[in-house]
Symmetry: C2
Subunit: 177 residues, 2 copies
């Protein structure tokens, strides 16, 4: 292997162009640090490991929810299906009340705000917050899952975000390989 | 907000069930620490920030490529479209030669192994490796992108993995919202 070149030639535009072609599942994160509920839509959720069950996502410095998520001890991560695209938009649009009287939200017995309509949710405790070039990487150990009896069947169509458009996975998108 | 309950009731099965409903874009990561090329398929790639352009993914302890990725200084992250599902399977199947004579791979001028057919790739340097409950979170600052003139048009269908099936995003999956 030749000498590694550490010179950067990539522009912000090149980087955004590359990631515009990388789709992502969508989740909404809710929390309350004692100063009221917040919600944010994230496209960076992933599972890190199962023993113990651990997940991570990154919180953008420009999201109004980030300060609360940085201070909260626990939070709820909601996995969304296509029929919940309204929730994804609610939690990613500035200036709207994400917990107004017209929004279907509640509190778990443990206190965290959550959206009961989400197909799945996991409640967890934040075990690490890492500052990475301005964003906050949040690492969470899951404590509780949405009760299985509340989960609908597997014909749900997961929501995907890609290049500023929303997609639903289903039989029509399935590759026969 | 009531007292936060930090007792865990979630099982590994609950956690896997929840994440089975979380789709992901697919990337293949290649590297060489001086002991030969390795490749791994990841479903945890996300963009962390653009100034400087930063991405992250997690490397499973059970992947044969993880030790090399832990030692390498630089690597290449390939974003895949549906017609490259073979590459995703190549880099996620144990016991196959990911750099055999029948595989279309090469070396960048800077030395890293890569797959030229990938729709997009970003070469970068590893700026942080974090151990999180057994997995390695790899944080990368992008240095170089696949030349734009080599990138095909925007009618490419990104590859998505969901609940053990492969999907292609396209007009058929698009939500009209």
């Amino acid at each position: 292997m030749s000498t590694t070149d550490l010179t950067s030639t990539v522009t912000a535009d090149d980087f955004k162009f590359a990631f515009r072609h990388h789709p992502a599942g969508i989740a909404v994160v809710t929390a309350d640090d004692g100063n009221g509920p917040v919600a944010m839509t994230v496209s960076s959720l992933s599972s890190v490991g199962i023993a113990p069950p651990t997940l991570m996502f990154s919180a953008s410095p420009i999201s109004s929810a980030t300060p609360t998520i940085r201070h909260a001890k626990t939070l709820v991560v909601h996995m969304l299906t296509a029929d919940q695209v309204g929730l994804a938009k609610l939690a990613s649009t500035s200036g709207v009340d994400r917990f107004g009287s017209d929004v279907n939200w509640g509190r778990l017995p443990t206190g965290e705000p959550y959206y009961p309509e989400a197909s799945e949710w996991l409640r967890g405790r934040i075990i690490s917050r890492l500052d990475i070039n301005g964003s906050t990487l949040v690492v969470v150990e899951a404590l509780e899952a949405k009760p299985r009896e509340d989960v609908e069947h597997d014909d749900r169509q997961p929501l995907v975000y890609h290049n500023r458009t929303w997609h639903a996975l289903g039989e029509g998108s399935r590759l026969d390989v």
